[in-house]
Symmetry: C5
Subunit: 99 residues, 5 copies
């Protein structure tokens, strides 16, 4: 699973694979200091995440293991909004992000 | 899921894995500024995308979750043509691409 | 499978995909000298690993092949705590880590 | 799916996972100019590809969706021999390769 | 599928996912000249490979398609010991390795 930061979303009209009604976000993955990297991905949102939120992402066939994405052609989804991270004696809270 | 830009297609005569009748595109993945990277992939088209279109790509076993690719040996497909992307306070529309 | 070192954990309130009750760790992958790399990932803990532990990680659909993660939207889990590694005529023991 | 060029093959005697009778090739992946990269992989051949052929490769669980590889422990197979590629206003034909 | 060279193994006491009795090796992946790269991975051994052996590796869900790993949380296994490789007009034999 990866940690990402929501930076945007997209609109598409022509879709396949039972994507109708799913919200698609743009995220950047986080590095070991929990800073945005330049690596971008798209994902389907299952937790109503918004811009600036740090999210936990689940990929591959496991991305279909939610009520919302079962039977959809998705390979990357948000599975949690992260409140705080403790790592290497540091602590990051969502509230510091102004949320 | 990844964002890519369609840059071409290919023709093959000798195929396996129930690929007959499927259209295979060449795409380059997009970076955090939604610019073409040098990373190229092939994918099966399920949304009738054309050269220059920005597409949403779905990979792994989830690439088989469409009517068209069920039971085919495919690991990357287009699942949507993207109309617009909002990210980092920027906005990109398909129409700016001349489409 | 990959080798990683546990460096932290995270807390989230809003979750999907049957993640309730699962503990989520932050790990860095190890390089060929078994030193931390800068590559970070999140994973679900199934072996009660703690900070500093070297763990064996299992990803993709195989991450759902444990009692704890069956039917959960997870793509990376700890499957073992490593006691010792022998490689290229070197030997690393967990006890040297003060455990 | 990826594009690769066949550069060789291998012989093994001790096998598991129902690999008996399958031909294993060495390929290098192609970059955005359809030139060999330095990235090498092995794959199981399902289309009788030979040295110098440009092939379409299918990975992950989808590599088991052919008559030949069903029930085999394979994660990368050739699914097509490519006759021609059109991309970025360029055209590459297999015949230019002397085939 | 990837080519790797066995460089070591590891011992763990606390395990999940039906790993008991499985032997876990450390491998480095090989580059286009069949030389060790710095990229290391762990894998479950199904062919009784030893230090210095060149092995064929199978990953993802396909790593569970052997008698030994069925129902185990493994995502990378050895599926063959390689006797010889022919590529780019070169030939490498296992016997040259002193085996």
């Amino acid at each position: 699973m990866k940690l990402g930061k929501v930076i945007g979303n997209l609109v598409s009209t022509k879709k396949e694979g039972n994507l109708d009604g799913l919200r698609i976000l743009i995220v950047t993955y986080l590095d070991e200091n929990m800073i945005d990297t330049k690596k971008t991905a798209a994902c389907v949102d299952t937790v109503n995440a918004g811009d600036g939120d740090i999210v936990l992402l689940c990929s591959s066939s496991s991305a279909r293991i939610t009520r919302m994405t079962r039977n959809s052609a998705v390979d990357n989804i948000t599975v949690a909004i992260i409140e705080s991270i403790s790592f290497n004696n540091r602590y990051i809270s969502r509230k510091e992000n102004g949320k």
